[in-house]
């Protein structure tokens, strides 16, 4: 079941920017693209733990700030020659508010 929780206004995230969301189970990075879509990814780079929320956002991807691995928002897969994957979480915008799926965030704790 999806339980959408409101994490704040879209305006709190700059276009082509991100916001870190802390949950008891670890951090999630919520990204806003240039076209005002939102995506949520696990904030930890599988390479050496770089904080993805601090990366540069372009198209539907983010570049890790530590060593430039690039991750696709929709699949969480590392692009190009790098291999690795971060978890993705359902996120959407409604009425100017950013919503995350709480059920999925919790499911992660059970899986982990």
């Amino acid at each position: 079941m999806t339980t959408w929780i409101d994490i704040g206004p879209l305006d709190a995230i700059p276009p082509r920017g991100a916001r870190k969301v802390t949950t008891p189970l670890g951090c999630v990075a919520v990204f806003r693209t240039g076209a005002d879509e939102v995506y949520a990814l696990e904030n930890r780079c599988p390479h050496k733990g770089g904080p993805l929320a601090d990366g540069i956002v372009h198209g539907h991807a983010v570049t890790c700030p530590l060593h430039n691995w690039v991750f696709d928002f929709t699949t969480g897969e590392a692009q190009g020659a790098d291999t690795g994957r971060v978890a993705t979480y359902p996120a959407r915008v409604e009425g100017g508010r950013v919503l995350l799926d709480a059920a999925r965030l919790q499911a992660r704790s059970q899986a982990a």
């Binding site: 276009p15 916001r19 969301v21 879509e37 904080p51 601090d54 540069i56 372009h58 995350l100």
Partner: protein, 809 residues
């Protein structure tokens, strides 16, 4: 005969009645209410009426004769005030009418932003003929109009008013026009076209109030700007007109809730048009309303019909602005973009692909193929086999794959290759046959590709097709995969075409991605802010995290903070403040750096604004220890204390650091000033290193002691401190204006030659002064304390959103 009452004589109900009368004339006795004192007309065509291209008579869809022929009882100019469901009557000003079946088709109402002054005479919305006539009348007196809202309606109003001779400004809240239909690049092209017709466009403009005593006089923006206005058009959006339905106790979401047969929560009441809400979806274009109208007519006649919303497309009805957008740009897994740009013709096309089908398309400047693309979207066609040539449209599909070389070979001699310099193919071929065998030679002899460089690829193809196997392409390194341009081409393009925004460069440079990548965006951001300090606004999101957060990221995601110590001089008070900050924020490591200052390492992102605020309070600015900008100016103690000192090296170092700090440069810039040739400040391996001597100052540049080791070269020797500062600033500015992003000065000087630099910085006094003035202009914008600014305005961005509570359940 059954009694059908219809509330609202608009485009949806009009189409529904046509269907009804065509299929089963005489099935219903119809009473039609309309708040407007007229029957149905083509509302879409109000814009051509406003601009003078059409008259009202030309856009009437149902005239008196039509209503009479279909025996419709018209109650025009009479708004329905109530629906009494218990008695099955609707109540209008002139009395009640009973119904067997009722249709609500009230459309929508313009949204009015709740600012003071919104009720002043002269403030108009744009919805019906009366609004249109009011605008036509107001424009007769000339003057200025402000249109609030840069969407479809606002822009059509703006274009119409401009054609009628008014000075028009469009205010738009978002960063680019029509952001719901267009992406940034197309929005930019649209803006440029509108500006060419004399319409002023202000984006990110938020209206605070409408000013005036007994009619509108001006519009006040949030940033304090006041725009004089004789007319204000509010076109910020619409919302479904649901009041009657709500009062009658029908189920209403954002619009009147209906099922796929257009039935409301009352089985005898139906709704159609912009007033409805179908599974959470609202409608603002006529195509789906016509589908609804058909379904409703069938339902009323007892036939089976189901409403299925389809993909929508939008075109702007402003003559000369060719744009098209369709489909879905919203989130969806595995999406990819195909982008095509033709800077010469101002053409931009973008397709959004998902699972081998096109799901969205934006086109600007050339919409000839839009219907074909729209068809592909609607049909969900599999495009996997067309992918490579898809963006070129239907003409290229189905045949053999296109060979760009064949296309160039087939061009006639008079075909223009280089638009900037007007060089045609024949001229280039003649040069090649005369011995020009590579790009540089062709460029030198014909000037083809010598300006903006975007035709470089074409020129190379002419070379290849003329020379055959004898042609070898010189390996040029483009900035990144987003463009074919080199850094040098890019800098030239920005200057020669006065490109002042990222979307402008993406378009002119034929970028292959919608908004660049982590390689090109930081470079582009620097080039733009270095060339247009006053016009371009620094884009934080195009900066590497260190420059976005103004602190250096560490391997564990924490940051370092390094307060500036001007020329390496500090005081006990400053040291105490640093110690206090280290204690207060539990800083794990405090280190003296190689740059004569103290580094606090391991600070958490969320603590940054607080630690900066403390350091600011103690009179320090945090240092640019991370930037592609001025870092440190190392000094030795000089004449103040040293028995060998010849000049005040510490004092000069501090002056230089205070003059240069805050400026952004292609790569970092480090300086040093030593008091004598013993050189304790290691000035001979800096980007700029000054050695004081008895007779003055020896200025060296282009040294290195990082990945490469290189001694500085002598730029000049001067007698006074002022001249030493002037030469330094002029050198730094020349570097800012010309170097490739991420070239340290020594790499750049190696490319252009020290003599070239000397000519401009030392010999040509007028050029030296121009450089110094240009640097001052840039510093007027960029020499600011970003830490204080972030503490003030952005500290929220440093805090994570905390959801630790939610999972406790």
């Amino acid at each position: 005969m059954k009694k059908l009452v219809v509330i609202g004589a608009g485009m949806a109900s009009g189409r529904m009645l046509e269907e009804l009368f065509d299929t089963a004339p005489g099935a219903y006795a119809v009473t039609l209410f309309n708040a407007e004192p007229r029957g149905n007309y083509n509302r879409i065509m109000l814009s051509p009426v406003l601009s003078g291209e059409k008259s009202y008579a030309e856009i009437v869809t149902h005239d008196d004769a039509w209503y009479a022929a279909n025996a419709v009882t018209c109650r025009f100019g009479e708004a329905v005030t109530r629906i009494d469901r218990a008695r099955k009557v609707v109540v209008g000003a002139q009395g009640e009418v009973p119904y067997d079946q009722l249709v609500i088709a009230t459309g929508s109402a313009p949204f009015i932003i709740p600012v003071p002054g919104r009720d002043l005479p002269g403030v108009i919305t744009y919805r019906d003929l009366d609004d249109t006539n009011a605008m036509i009348e107001a424009s007769g007196k000339g003057g200025s109009a402000v249109v609030i809202g840069g969407g479809l309606l606002g822009l059509e109003a703006a274009a119409g008013l401009r054609l009628r001779g008014m000075e028009v400004t469009v205010l738009h809240l978002s960063g680019h026009l029509m952001e719901r239909q267009l992406d940034e690049a197309a929005g930019f092209l649209l803006r440029r076209d509108l500006e060419h017709r004399g319409i002023k466009v202000m984006t990110k403009a938020s209206t605070t109030a409408i000013l005036g005593d007994d009619r509108v006089e001006a519009v006040l923006l949030e940033d304090g700007t006041t725009l004089p206005a004789d007319l204000v058009v509010m076109a910020v959006g619409i919302r479904p007109e649901t009041r009657l339905a709500t009062d009658a106790g029908l189920e209403v979401a954002r619009g009147i809730a209906i099922d796929a047969q257009m039935r409301t929560s009352d089985p005898d009441i139906f709704a159609v048009g912009e007033c409805v809400d179908f599974n959470g979806q609202l409608f603002g274009l006529v195509a789906p309303l016509y589908d609804q109208a058909k379904v409703l007519a069938q339902t009323l006649l007892g036939a089976e019909a189901v409403f299925v919303p389809k993909e929508l497309s939008t075109k702007l009805k402003v003559t000369g602005c060719d744009l098209f957008s369709a489909g879905d740009f919203a989130e969806g897994p595995n999406r990819e973009d195909i982008v095509f740009r033709d800077p010469g013709r101002g053409v931009y096309k973008r397709l959004v692909i998902e699972d081998d089908a096109i799901i969205g398309a934006v086109m600007y400047g050339d919409t000839a193929d839009s219907n074909w693309f729209f068809g592909q979207i609607r049909d969900g066609a599999d495009i996997s086999t067309l992918r490579d040539t898809l963006i070129f449209g239907p003409a290229f599909q189905g045949g053999a794959p296109v060979d760009p070389m064949a296309a160039v070979a087939a061009l006639p001699p008079e075909a223009e290759i280089c638009g900037c310099n007007g060089v045609c193919k024949g001229t280039i071929v003649a040069a090649i046959n005369g011995g020009a065998s590579d790009l540089a030679a062709v460029k030198a002899q014909t000037k083809a590709s010598a300006s903006c460089g975007t035709c470089t690829g074409l020129v190379e193809q002419v070379l290849a097709s003329t020379l055959g196997d004898r042609f070898t392409r010189k390996a040029v390194q483009p900035v990144c995969g987003c463009t074919e341009l080199t850094h040098e081409d890019l800098r030239r393009l920005i200057k020669s075409q006065s490109l002042k925004s990222m979307p402008a460069v993406w378009q002119a440079g034929a970028w292959k991605t919608p908004d660049g990548c982590h390689v090109c965006r930081p470079a582009l951001n620097f080039y733009l802010l270095a060339d247009w300090p006053l016009e371009y606004r620094d884009d934080l999101q195009s900066r590497f995290i260190n420059e976005r957060k103004h602190a250096n990221i560490q391997k564990d995601g924490t940051f370092s903070v390094m307060p500036r110590m001007w020329g390496g001089i500090t005081t006990p008070d400053e040291l105490r403040a640093i110690a206090d900050a280290a204690d207060k924020f539990a800083v794990p490591t405090v280190k003296v750096t190689g740059g004569q200052r103290i580094d606090l390492l391991g600070v958490k992102s969320e603590d940054l604004p607080a630690i900066w605020a403390d350091l600011n309070a103690a009179g320090m600015v945090s240092g640019h220890a991370y930037s592609k900008g001025l870092r440190t100016v190392k000094t030795c103690v000089g004449t103040d204390h040293c028995r060998f000192g010849t000049q005040d090296s510490t004092g000069l170092g501090i002056k230089l650091e205070k003059a240069l700090w805050g400026s952004w440069t292609p790569h970092k810039v480090k300086l040093a000033v030593s008091g004598c040739p013993r050189n304790c400040a290691e000035a001979t391996c800096k980007d700029v290193g000054i050695i004081c001597v008895d007779s003055g100052f020896q200025i060296g540049v282009a040294g290195a002691a990082g990945m490469d080791l290189k001694e500085t070269e002598r730029l000049g020797q001067v007698e006074t401190e002022e001249e030493a500062i002037a030469l330094t600033i002029a050198f730094v500015q020349l570097y800012r204006e010309n170097a490739k992003y991420l070239d340290r000065p020594y790499k750049w000087v190696a490319k252009v030659g020290l003599d070239w630099v000397k000519e401009r910085v030392v010999d040509d006094l007028a050029e030296r002064q121009r450089l110094i003035d240009a640097f001052a202009v840039s510093q007027s914008v960029y020499q600011k304390d970003p830490w204080a600014e972030h503490v003030r305005e952005r500290s929220e961005q440093y805090k994570p959103v905390n959801l630790s509570g939610f999972a406790a359940e």
